[in-house]
């Protein structure tokens, strides 16, 4: 029995093992995912450099991920603008000049709310769908069948989605920024009586020229991360219908966490 148990004949004391073992397991899992994602991206890169990716499929994916997401992104960003504006009004009324609200709304929408909320919406609308779709193809042997007829699933299914994500997210974030600011401005006028000119005056006063670039850079990073993780998780699905469900849940968590981590890394890297 103990012959199979590595802990039986190592010199590491048991309490230390209890601490080290989980660390080792996590490190192993992280390394496994990192390795697989690296291989996936390498194959995607090769598919592009060898011009094997269909332009039509990229366009189709941009439509699915981008154009079809516009309504929900508009609603989300609008609500974010409304909330920020109301909260700012509640916090600041009477203490600072009201036109500062213009800056508060604009900067929080462009720097944080626009990119992050759009990405979170896309995790649900696009990421989960990709994982479930590829996962189903995996467990029903359709991925195997593609290989068997000499087709490359990475070239056909993965590569177009990743580029489409990189194209679609910045466009969506642009729309989100616009709608967030407009909704915030309208709310400020309604609830605090702040005129549009004062709002814009405040917005311009604290605006840095790189703020928009920063917002778009975030969008590019998210647009790359979402399909990449979704595809990676989909292709390692096993265990039938239940497996697809579990894998999709884990994929959503993985994508959400990654977005929040990327978001937290942005200020030290770029500001």
């Amino acid at each position: 029995m103990n012959g199979n148990n590595p802990s039986a004949n190592t010199a590491i004391p048991l309490p230390l093992q209890a601490v080290l073992a989980p660390i080792g397991r996590v490190a192993h899992t992280v390394a496994e995912h990192a390795g697989e994602i690296a291989i996936l991206l390498w194959s995607v890169g090769r598919a592009y450099t060898e011009f094997r990716v269909s332009g039509r499929e990229i366009a189709r994916q941009v439509y699915i991920m981008g154009v079809q997401s516009i309504p929900i992104v508009m609603v989300t960003a609008g609500l974010a603008g409304i909330v920020t504006s109301q909260q700012g009004g509640y916090q600041f009324t009477g203490s600072i000049p009201l036109y500062v609200m213009g800056s508060v709304v604009t900067e929080s929408v462009v720097l944080e709310m626009g990119p992050v909320l759009t990405a979170i919406v896309l995790v649900g609308r696009v990421g989960a769908r990709i994982t479930a779709e590829l996962g189903t193809m995996k467990v029903s042997e359709q991925i195997d069948a593609l290989y068997s007829v000499g087709r490359d699933p990475v070239e056909m299914l993965a590569a177009p989605k990743i580029l489409a994500g990189i194209i679609a997210l910045p466009l969506l974030v642009g729309i989100a920024n616009l709608f967030g600011i407009l909704a915030g401005m309208y709310t400020a006028q309604l609830t605090m009586g702040l005129g549009y000119e004062s709002f814009f005056y405040g917005a311009r006063l604290f605006w840095h020229s790189w703020d928009l670039l920063y917002s778009i850079l975030k969008a590019v990073a998210f647009g790359f991360a979402i399909p990449t993780i979704a595809i990676h998780m989909g292709l390692r699905t096993g265990g039938g219908a239940a497996g697809v469900g579990l894998q999709t849940t884990q994929s959503v968590m993985f994508m959400t966490l990654t977005i929040l981590i990327i978001d937290a890394m942005f200020p030290p890297l770029f500001l």
Partner: protein
């Protein structure tokens, strides 16, 4: 020619523990074995759909795993694979599914009309009515129809080698006969090499030049159908008649 050289594969436990098997060119070869012994796994290692932990598979002398860049693509082009559960692309209709069976290099040289003609032909070979079914989605087909569309997809590119994973399981007698005739026809008229995994022992013995039996991760038997019938191995015998099968329940200890 298909050559399995010491193919070893373990998932949680070893499934294939060193399988050596040679299927000659133009041969019809049947592989029997109890459920879950790794017959499908072995077939999948041929096209690297499952990569063995050790060992190699050679197609006409070309190594699937050590053959260098492009070899695997060449192998996949000349080998057709009939999946146990059809594995049709469920977002594509029957015609598009069969179209996928044609190698990309062939497709670029063909007009859409020629492709349609080939698909039509392939469906007729598996006893399906092309007119009624070409534009249907896999979800709209019965299990047996899916299976035959899967066969049509595998044969439409006229592969030199065909791997059949239980092509007749779940088919009615008439369609079983049709598929069996198709397998025989392909091998006799076009000298296709066929490796056939089947639970229909009688049919396999009748059709094939040689048969083998996989059990416990290894080949328990490999020889001609006559030798198979005369074998005094109880496990081999169990595959031939029901009485022996009941006796084998004790030998294999499957209860």
């Amino acid at each position: 020619m298909i050559e399995y050289k010491g193919v070893y594969k373990a998932f949680d436990e070893p499934v294939l523990s060193g399988v050596d098997l040679l299927v000659e060119s133009g041969e019809m070869f049947a592989l029997f074995g109890p459920s879950g012994t790794g017959k499908s796994v072995l077939l999948k290692t041929t096209l690297a759909l499952i990569v063995p932990d050790m060992g190699d598979v050679c197609i006409d002398g070309q190594s699937a795993y050590y053959g260098g860049r492009g070899t695997l693509e060449q192998i996949r082009e000349k080998v057709g694979y009939v999946f146990q559960y059809a594995a049709l692309f469920d977002s594509l209709n029957v015609f598009e599914n069969i179209r996928m069976g044609l190698p990309k290099s062939t497709l670029t040289r063909m007009t859409e009309k020629e492709v349609a003609h080939k698909a039509w032909e392939a469906l007729e070979l598996v006893n399906l009515e092309p007119r009624l079914i070409l534009s249907k989605l896999p979800d709209e087909l019965s299990g047996g129809m899916k299976k035959r569309v899967g066969i049509a997809r595998a044969i439409v590119g006229r592969p030199e080698i065909l791997l059949w994973d239980e092509p007749t399981t779940g088919l009615d007698p008439v369609n079983t006969a049709a598929v069996e005739r198709l397998i025989t026809q392909l091998s006799e008229e076009l000298q296709v090499t066929s490796l056939l995994v089947t639970h229909d022992v009688e049919g396999g013995l009748e059709m094939c030049d040689r048969v083998a039996m996989l059990e416990g991760g290894r080949l328990r038997f490999c020889g001609t159908p006559e030798e198979f019938k005369d074998s005094d191995d109880p496990v081999v015998q169990a595959f031939q008649d029901r009485a022996a099968a009941y006796a084998a329940l004790d030998v294999l200890d499957v209860r």
